[in-house]
């Protein structure tokens, strides 16, 4: 799983039927100190995250489909949690 920070929202009417009614957020990847990495991902939201929230993302197809209860959905990135705190020893 990867950690990220929600930076935006994507609206779309013409999309694959699997994505109908799904919330999609733009999430920049962050490191353990909360610093933005030079990368992002668009992920399906399952936890009602909003802009600025630090989130946990599953970036793997089978796990993502399991969460969204689909056997053939073309999905790989899903937001599965909101991070309260990251501690680094």
């Amino acid at each position: 799983m990867i950690a990220g920070r929600v930076t935006g929202h994507i609206f779309s009417t013409i999309n694959h039927p699997f994505y109908d009614g799904k919330r999609m957020l733009v999430v920049e990847k962050i490191d353990e100190n909360g610093k933005a990495l030079n990368d992002y991902v668009i992920a399906v939201d399952t936890v009602d995250a909003g802009p600025g929230d630090k989130v946990l993302i599953v970036d793997e197809g089978n796990g993502a489909r399991q969460i969204l209860q689909s056997s053939d959905g073309p999905v790989r990135s899903v937001i599965v949690g909101i991070i309260d705190q990251i501690t680094v020893d």
Binding site: R5, V6, T7, G8, H9, I10, F11, S12, T13, I14, N15, H16, Y19, M24, V26, E28, K29, K35, A36, L37, N38, D39, Y40, V41, I42, A43, P51, G52, G61, D72, G73, P74, V75, R76, S77
Partner: protein
């Protein structure tokens, strides 16, 4: 998934079976602010509605082929949807 902009079309004359009617589009990958990033790629268009100049999002890897019917086709990037609008937070770093 990532953001991209359709910059052109690719017309193959011979394709693997299952891909005969699938549009192939040139896509310039974008960063999260919509600026071009990296080299252009060819994406199968699962919406069959995207055209040059449009902002789209695409999936890479195994899931790209799963947007198509039949799903067992040799495709590694596919357009999943067309972006109507993006609401971007002003904060955060550059990506």
């Amino acid at each position: 998934m990532k953001l991209g902009k359709v910059i052109g079309q690719v017309v193959p004359c011979e394709v693997y079976e299952g891909l005969e009617t699938v549009p192939m589009l040139w896509v310039q990958p974008l960063d999260k602010k919509g600026h071009p990033k990296g080299a252009a790629i060819v994406c199968a268009d699962s919406t069959r509605m995207a055209g040059p100049g449009e902002l789209i999002y695409y999936e890479g890897g195994r899931e790209a082929a799963m947007t198509l019917d039949p799903v067992f086709v040799p495709v590694d990037h596919a357009i999943v949807g067309i972006v109507d609008d993006m609401a971007l937070d002003q904060g955060g770093g550059d990506a």
